[in-house]
Assembly symmetry: C2
Homo-oligomer: 337 residues x 2
């Protein structure tokens, strides 16, 4: 039995599965941001005509899936798996979307890293011939996340400057064997890191060590340097997390990645939008920025090789109320064109 791995943690996808289509759907705030024109669908209001935030989030995921399927020219029945997750308890957005799709469903939870987890599993299932087509999707909604994770949003409490703003949106993609699309040659699934942070507003500090560990693992496994990638993209470290991440990478590996690293959380909103504090976050953050901006730019020839490191904080309201820390994770995926 041939083992398709290199180094300690990295999986080699010899058959080069591809992202053949993506779909992105966002809320009005994201649509008004600097990448607004890059998204397939921008809702005119955050409720999307629904009665609850949760139902609005569901509409976003259904829309993103439909856009991805439409661009791929494929139907639901062509999909062998639907890999999806979100931030809500019992991943109800994914579950209720799956209830409308009639595709075999594997529910995932990796907090804001879920897009990377879905891409990792989906690309292995396609690479190994276990699926012809895989549909992945993740979502988050600012108001459903606030309601669940923090406090009743009506209270309108002030937030610290290192807090982040949950992105309202959903990103979906279709993975397949194909002669066209973005190739996925390598994935490095992450190990959980507990940096001892227990302030749920401070997700950047909690996730930065996980991102640094996965990056260093990946570079060591594949004997690469940061310069071998046109850009290293992290999911949602925000301003504070980005600073810590770069320092940790420098400390652990000696590499200064300042010039080749960007964070989706720092790209999705305007720099002068003070409401978002340290930047965007949520499952949708890395997904809509990457699927809406980076992968299309890659198809235009503006990037040849991207390392995508998607970060998540695995805490819950119960664990932080019980005084626990926030274990975090980051999954890395390589995109090539």
């Amino acid at each position: 039995m041939q083992i398709k791995r290199v180094g300690q943690f990295t999986v080699v996808l010899e058959n080069l599965p591809r992202i053949i289509a993506t779909g992105t759907a966002v809320g009005p705030k994201e649509g008004g941001g600097p990448l607004g024109k890059r998204f397939d669908y921008v809702a005119s209001d955050r409720m999307l005509g629904q009665k609850s935030f949760e139902k609005a989030e569901l509409e976003l995921m259904k829309e993103a899936c439909n856009r991805a399927l439409g661009k791929a020219g494929l139907a639901r029945k062509d999909m062998d798996f639907f890999l999806a997750g979100d931030l809500l308890n019992q991943i109800i957005t994914a579950g209720f979307t799956a209830a409308t799709l009639n595709i075999p469903f594997l529910g995932l939870y990796g907090a804001c890293s879920t897009a990377g987890e879905a891409m990792s599993i989906g690309s292995m299932l396609v690479d190994g011939g276990y699926a012809r087509f895989v549909l992945t999707a993740v979502s988050s909604h600012n108001n459903s996340a606030e309601r669940q994770y923090r406090y009743p949003t009506e209270y309108g409490g002030q937030k610290p400057p290192y807090s982040q703003w949950t992105v309202t949106g959903s990103g979906a993609c279709v993975l397949a064997h194909s002669n066209e699309g973005i190739k996925i040659p390598l994935v490095t699934p992450g190990r959980v890191v507990d940096a001892g942070i227990n302030d749920p507003f401070d997700m950047g500090s909690a996730m930065a060590p996980a991102a640094a560990q996965t990056l260093v693992d990946h570079l060591r496994d594949v004997r690469s340097n940061p310069e071998d990638y046109d850009v290293i993209i992290t999911g949602d470290l925000g301003g504070f997390g980005t600073k810590i991440f770069r320092e940790l990478v420098k400390e652990k590996s000696g590499h200064d990645i300042t010039d080749c690293h960007v964070d989706c959380g720092l790209m999705i909103y305007h720099d002068d939008d003070r409401e978002v504090n340290s930047g965007g976050s949520g499952c949708a953050c890395s997904a809509v920025v990457t699927y809406g901006y980076f992968l299309p730019e890659m198809l235009k020839g503006n990037y040849k090789r991207i390392l995508w490191i998607v970060t998540g904080s695995l805490h819950s309201p119960t664990t932080y109320q019980q005084g626990e820390t926030m274990p975090s994770i980051a999954h890395a995926v390589v995109f090539e064109n």
Copy 2:
């Protein structure tokens, strides 16, 4: 590219990944049940010396993982993936267990079907050569589940006869290429079915249609009959769900499975235990009964071919408070020896 599938939904695992070891840890009520002597570890009290139900559940999952690794004669560092999930919000039991293991972690959520989901994904990753060893784990704890899903347990409200009792326990297993252990030749991941049930106590009625659909899909895909299996095991349909499941299978396929079907939820507690009402449920139910009883019996030669159908209801407290139905899912896995 060869596609390793048969029929519409079933994946063929040509390299026959194996379950090389399992670990089970349960609470005192389960230890006092008819299968009590089959479990590797029985806690003497439901708190396991911890301050909270959630921490007690965490101890159970860590114990089950350690037992499985110990029986396999392997260390944490030998594992390429840890696939785990549980019922708690943000799957904190799995996340916090992963924080202690230092194994690349893919978090799963399929409610009570999570053991089947983990087995399905894990067996594909081993079969395809993406992992040498995969550790899977699921857990549930009666008190942490009651606290989260229903109402403060202190209220002690009466429950309807069709309600089920969440199993306190955890089941883990190690998957690998090996010459020994239980073979996994086929998996049939399920599609979500929404039967319109919206009473969160009535999970049996919600899940039975999903179990019936997956069984019928599986039999059609592999051109088998129920008699081709020594036993068909469902996860946690309970008494009411079992009756509905058998009727639906009869209606959809003409097969009467009364004599070859058993439900883990009806095996784990004593028949005269009125507290459990319709039977056991929870992620741990199917896992500890199957890993603790059926797989060891299989290794003794008492079963040659088992079809394991693991069921889950994908609702959340938020969705049922908002009047939504309970979409359900069931994943099927074939065991051979």
